[in-house]
């Protein structure tokens, strides 16, 4: 057995132990160590050199990255999640001869959810297209798809209620985030739709349980809104809609130059 491989395996054992202990600081440290060591394996993407124990190495690497993904959810680091997911992805898409991982679909679903939360709908659909049709049946992925559909329809209550039916416990973090995304959407729409709303209506609209939460939200996210006499006024946000001026001088010049050119045609 390759000494390097053994070393990586050992460190990974330590990492797993720490992960179970929820000692995330140690995890982060060990993970970074692991990643650097992984770069030295030639059998891994993107080089894919064929070696006798390539399958083992790739399986181990995949395992490490899967854990990395979960770790980043646990520490609630979306950037790290994205990074780790992309590094993991080649192991799902490109590596032949590797046993499919049990974690594959939850992680793919997680990624879809992340995109939904970050409101990156285009990328969401791109990812979706890349999935084989069989995968769409998987509850984890199906969940994400349904969420997206409700989200697009504007059935926000359905989105929020879906929190109760998560297929994987790791999704909970994102479901919370999703609620916020939904709220932002609603806020954006109401801003356009209404001049003002009573605080009561606004609270219902934005799905807050108390007026206090609403006021806090407005202060944090939309300081330009105004709360007066029990109403929320949106007007100030609407001010910027300058009517476009016709660039008359430019047009005149252009027309004149066309005329000149026409005259010149021999």
């Amino acid at each position: 057995m390759d000494p390097k491989f053994t070393e990586v395996s050992q460190i990974f054992q330590l990492f797993k132990a720490a992960f179970v202990r929820k000692d995330f600081d140690t995890c982060i440290k060990l993970l970074s160590q692991l990643k650097v060591m992984l770069t030295e394996f030639k059998s891994l993407p993107p080089l894919f050199e064929e070696m006798p124990n390539a399958i083992q190495e790739r399986t181990l690497a995949r395992d490490i990255y899967e854990h990395a993904v979960f770790l980043s959810v646990k520490i609630e680091d979306q950037d790290a999640l994205e990074r780790d997911f992309f590094q993991l992805k080649p192991y799902y898409t490109d590596t032949y001869g590797l046993q499919p991982s049990s974690q594959e679909h939850p992680i793919l679903g997680l990624n879809l959810l992340r995109l939904l939360v970050q409101n990156r709908i285009a990328e969401f659909h791109t990812e979706l297209e890349l999935l084989p049709s069989s995968a769409l049946e998987n509850p984890c992925i199906k969940h994400a798809i349904e969420l997206e559909q409700s989200f697009m329809e504007g059935a926000y209550n359905r989105v929020l209620s879906a929190r109760q039916t998560v297929p994987h416990e790791i999704y909970v973090y994102f479901m919370d985030l999703l609620a916020k995304t939904v709220r932002d959407e609603i806020a954006g729409c109401s801003e356009k739709a209404y001049d003002s709303l009573s605080i009561n209506d606004a609270r219902q609209m934005l799905l807050f349980s108390s007026d206090l939460d609403l006021v806090k939200y407005i202060e944090e996210e939309h300081p330009e809104w105004e709360i007066r006499k029990g109403f929320v006024f949106f007007q100030r946000a609407k001010e910027s809609a300058p009517c476009k001026e016709i660039p008359s001088l430019q047009l005149i010049n252009q027309t004149l130059s066309y005329a000149r050119e026409l005259e010149r045609i021999v």
Partner: protein
């Protein structure tokens, strides 16, 4: 396999870039760099991250990041960004890598470097702005090219980038320095646009040349000529002349002939003066038969002065012990001075044109008969045509036969009729003055002549002595000063300008200026042109003076003359002329703008400069004055003549313009730049214009067509025949407009110019512009305003001859091969007597002579059986009857009819034996071969022009051809040749073809 080993996305690697650990970043970068060719679209979204890595001072692999970014930008097509990052990549950017990326970026780098350097050089601040990293890349590339033996690339790059040091290195390290240098010369002429820089390159080349173990003196001298360094040429010539080896002397002569071909009078003059005289004069100066006696007779040329001076020193009585080496040198130097003065070439050309004259008098007769008597335009056009047809041949039979008809010319027509004699006798330096004597102003004594013929005669003298006017200048000046008749002044000014072309003689200039300041329209116009001729290419500040006067005067004619004159002064000066051109083209006066067009044309003649073309096209479509537009289009012809294939393409749209002036200009532009090429596109472009709805467009198109088709035989392009028939039809058509008729008449003259032995050539064989020819055509194109200027076209004629010369500068008889069907290049068949329109007296003429001709022809047949159509045999009947009377002339005429007809019966051979000197048309040159067992071998490989021959069997007696007729007449006056002449002609005995009898056409 390859598919299996590929990832489908670079997303993982890109994600890795965001990792905090540097080792991971590095891993990602190096892998991305390996896969960038496939994943650049993905990577391009992450470029900002990589860029930030590159800018991160602490990151130790910054060059790698730079390389990656550079590659991505390359794929995105952002070459500028790509290059700047590639520079950041430093040594990681591998110039020897064989990939599209590297190739593209190298090209970009070199372009960038070249443009920076050029800009720096043009702004005259020594670079310093150039990025050293860029320079390093370019140098790496240059070195690599040199090491790999790709010298041409290296040279091209070095010239582009203005790295003369590298250029030198490339040339000296190449295995075949001569080939490399000639390549270098080619590109420096065709691609280096800035005159200054071209000079630098050429200077370097000369330097390199001289360091070579076996220098190619011919090329060196050509370069030195371009650089205008007569001293260098003179010292090389001296070295060659002093050599023991006879071949070196031959080479020196060859150089001299080549220099003369470029027609740079001022330069030749200084070379001649730069040649050191022999230390002591041998007791017997030169044996008879050398050109010496001729030059003594010729009057006050410098050669003669020099000989007289040295003769004088001999008389001093130092009793010089004739050092044999000095004697040889002295003999040689006399010869070379003769050559440099242009006398040898002019004399030989004259003899060639005279003996090979094949002009068809029947064409002229047809024209004469079909032209209406009272139509003075066509009448004088016929006179012009006669002159052009016989330019340089000294054959004035037509005029003699038609004295009565000629006498209808009055006033200015008389002026041009007289001047036409000058064209016919062009180059007849020795006899010129006596020929014209009857018409010249008689200093007060017998001043009975008409001022028109007197003026014309002065103009004629100028034409005879064009660009070789040392001998006649004084006389013309005197004539100019002693008259105040404006017609005579007009002629004298033109003559003087022609004779002292480009000499920038201040005294002459002052004389002409005095005429200008009399503010007489007729004389002033000529004075303006004349000043330009005098100052050709000097870019002197006199132009400012002329411009000021042009603003002052009221006469349009004077302004026009001056405008052209100013344009002439900037001849070939390229950028130096820009201020003047700017000044002229922005003037209020359309005539000055019109001059500005000429200035553009002449300053950038033959350079194909894009800026000039753009400017001309701009004026061609946007100026308000038709004259300016016409000239702007016409000027394109001058700018583009070095690359005739381009012109038809560039003016093709203009030739379809709604404006007839623009169409006319387009026709002439094609005519000028494609002259003598017979270019198919040019003919196709001109063809529709010859049947244009506007008469003057037809005129221009016909003339242009004739210029393009000059010396093209019907066998090589069938359209030539069709064009000849078209011309005839137009001339015979009674209802045709006068303008186009005149065009047709002139066109038939140009088509058969110079006895069908000349072509219009603006470039010499060494690609040097022929200043006289270009100037001639430029002034010729002015005939729109002033018909007598038509004669200037004769300046652009150059004989299409192969003239081999031996050491004594004689023409030995030897044969060589033209490896092509004779019919391809033969003379056009003489017109047969028109049957329908012929009058009664023509058939009788044929009948009376054809019997005799047949008898003669059968006599000749024996001689000709061996060498069919040897040109040596044919001139003999012509030689025996110089200044022939009516009957003998017709005799010769009908012979020409018969001989080709007889030959037709035989199957056409695939080759032809030519005898020195022979007519070799430009298209034929590539077929010329020298026979292997030939006695003579040329010193340089040349297919036409003057070629010095090395005699491999010097002991055998030489057989001289062609020249012996005139020269024997000189050595043996009153001999058999002259004996046959009429008594009037016998008086004027000379080695030249006898001068024609004086005749007066004014009753």
């Amino acid at each position: 396999m390859a598919a299996a080993t590929m990832v489908s996305s670079a997303g993982g690697l890109l994600a890795m870039l965001n990792e905090t650990h540097p080792a991971l970043k590095l891993h990602a970068l190096s892998n991305l760099n390996a896969f960038v060719d496939y994943f650049w679209p993905e990577i391009s979204t992450s470029v900002p991250i990589i860029e930030s890595l590159y800018e991160d001072e602490e990151f130790d692999q910054r060059p790698l990041a730079a390389l990656l970014v550079s590659k991505v930008f390359y794929y995105l097509g952002e070459l500028n960004d790509s290059l700047s990052y590639a520079l950041g990549a430093g040594h990681l950017f591998d110039v020897s890598e064989d990939s599209d990326y590297v190739h593209t970026l190298l090209a970009k780098a070199i372009d960038e470097y070249a443009s920076l350097n050029t800009k720096a050089a043009e702004a005259h601040n020594e670079s310093a702005t150039v990025d050293p990293r860029l320079e390093a890349i370019v140098e790496r590339m240059l070195d690599k090219c040199i090491v790999d033996g790709k010298y041409q690339q290296a040279i091209g790059m070095a010239i582009e980038c203005r790295r003369l040091d590298k250029l030198e290195e490339a040339i000296t390290r190449s295995d075949n320095a001569h080939a490399t240098i000639s390549y270098c010369i080619d590109i420096s002429h065709s691609f280096v646009n800035r005159r200054e820089y071209r000079r630098e390159v050429l200077q370097l080349l000369v330097k390199v040349y001289q360091q070579l173990p076996s220098p190619d003196y011919l090329s060196i001298c050509q370069r030195l000529m371009f650089l205008d360094e007569p001293d260098g040429v003179a010292s090389i010539l001296e070295k060659l002349l002093r050599s023991e080896n006879k071949e070196d002397a031959l080479l020196a002569f060859q150089i001299a002939f080549d220099l003369v071909e470029n027609e740079h009078q001022a330069f030749l003059l200084s070379v001649r003066n730069g040649l050191p005289s022999p230390k002591s004069q041998p007791s017997e100066p030169v044996h008879s038969g050398s050109p010496e006696p001729g030059s003594v007779q010729s009057g006050n040329t410098t050669t003669t002065e020099d000989v007289q001076m040295t003769n004088g020193s001999q008389v001093d009585g130092n009793a010089p012990s004739p050092d044999p080496r000095e004697a040889i040198y002295a003999e040689r130097i006399t010869k070379i001075r003769g050559i440099l003065s242009g006398e040898n070439s002019i004399q030989l050309t004259l003899q060639f044109l005279y003996s090979h004259n094949k002009s068809d008098l029947l064409v002229l007769k047809t024209i004469k008969q079909s032209v209406e008597m009272r139509n003075s335009v066509c009448h004088s056009a016929t006179i012009y045509t006669n002159a052009i047809m016989h330019a340089g041949t000294t054959v004035d039979t037509f005029l003699r036969e038609n004295l009565d008809w000629l006498s209808r010319a009055t006033n200015w027509a008389k002026f041009s009729a007289t001047a036409g004699l000058g064209v016919i006798h062009r180059g007849h330096l020795k006899q010129g003055r006596s020929l014209m004597a009857p018409y010249l102003p008689q200093g007060g004594a017998g001043g009975g002549g008409s001022p028109y013929s007197e003026g014309g005669a002065l103009y004629a003298l100028g034409l005879i002595h064009a660009n070789h006017g040392e001998g006649i200048k004084q006389f013309l000046r005197d004539s100019l000063r002693s008259t105040n008749v404006e017609v005579i002044q007009h002629g004298a000014c033109l003559g003087l300008g022609l004779a002292s072309l480009g000499t920038a003689d201040n005294d002459v200039f002052d004389d002409i200026k005095n005429v200008l300041y009399t503010d007489s329209a007729v004389a002033g116009e000529a004075a303006g042109i004349s000043m330009g001729l005098l100052m050709v290419g000097t870019a002197s500040e006199k132009a400012g003076e002329m411009l000021a006067y042009a603003h002052e005067t009221q006469h349009e004619k004077i302004i026009r003359g001056l405008a052209l004159g100013i344009a002439l002064t900037v001849y070939g000066r390229e950028e130096e002329a820009d201020t003047l051109i700017e000044q002229m083209t922005r003037d209020q006066d359309p005539i000055l703008r019109y001059g500005g067009m000429y200035a553009l044309a002449l300053a950038y003649q033959g350079t194909g400069n894009n800026k000039a073309i753009r400017q001309l096209l701009h004026f061609a479509v946007s100026d308000v004055s038709d004259d300016v537009r016409r000239t702007a289009v016409l000027a394109l012809g001058f700018v583009l003549y070095a690359d005739p294939e381009q012109t038809p393409r560039i003016v093709s749209l203009l030739s379809e313009s709604y404006n007839p002036h623009v169409r006319y200009g387009a026709a002439l532009a094609v005519g000028i730049s494609c002259a003598g090429t017979g270019l198919s596109e040019a003919i196709s472009l001109l063809e529709p214009l010859t049947s244009d709805v506007v008469d003057f467009v037809r005129q221009g198109a016909l003339i242009a067509m004739a210029m393009v088709m000059i010396q093209i035989s019907e066998a090589s392009d069938s359209r030539v025949g069709a064009f000849r028939r078209q011309l005839e039809k137009i001339i015979l058509d009674k209802h045709e407009d006068t303008m186009s008729k005149m065009g047709a008449i002139l066109a038939s003259g140009i088509l058969d110019a110079g006895g069908r032995n000349v072509t219009i050539k603006l470039l010499s064989k060494t690609k040097h512009d022929k200043i006289t020819a270009v100037v001639g055509l430029a002034v010729f194109s002015q005939f729109w305003y002033w018909y007598p200027l038509i004669y200037f076209i004769s300046l652009s004629f150059s004989p299409t001859a192969f003239i081999g010369l031996n050491y004594d500068l004689k023409v030995p008889s030897f044969e060589f091969l033209s490896h092509a069907k004779p019919s391809l290049f033969e003379y056009p068949k003489p017109t047969t007597v028109p049957t329908a329109t012929s009058t009664a007296k023509l058939p009788t003429a044929v009948l009376s002579t054809s019997a005799r001709a047949k008898a003669r022809a059968s006599k000749k047949e024996l001689e000709k059986a061996n060498a069919p159509k040897t040109s040596g045999a044919e001139p003999s009947p012509a030689v025996t009857s110089p200044g022939k009377g009516k009957s003998s002339d017709k005799d010769g005429d009908s012979m020409q009819v018969d001989i080709p007809a007889e030959k037709k019966a035989e199957p056409e051979p695939s080759f032809e034996i030519l005898t020195n000197p022979a007519r070799v048309v430009p298209a034929q040159e590539k077929y010329i071969k020298f026979l292997e067992e030939s006695r003579y071998v040329p010193v340089k490989s040349a297919q036409s022009g003057f070629v010095l021959l090395k005699d491999l069997r010097p002991n055998e007696p030489e057989v001289l051809s062609l020249t012996d007729a005139p020269s024997s007449a000189a050595s043996n006056p009153g001999g058999s040749a002259t004996g046959q002449q009429s008594s009037a002609a016998a008086m004027a005995v000379d080695e030249e073809p006898a001068p024609p009898q004086p005749f007066e056409f004014t009753p």
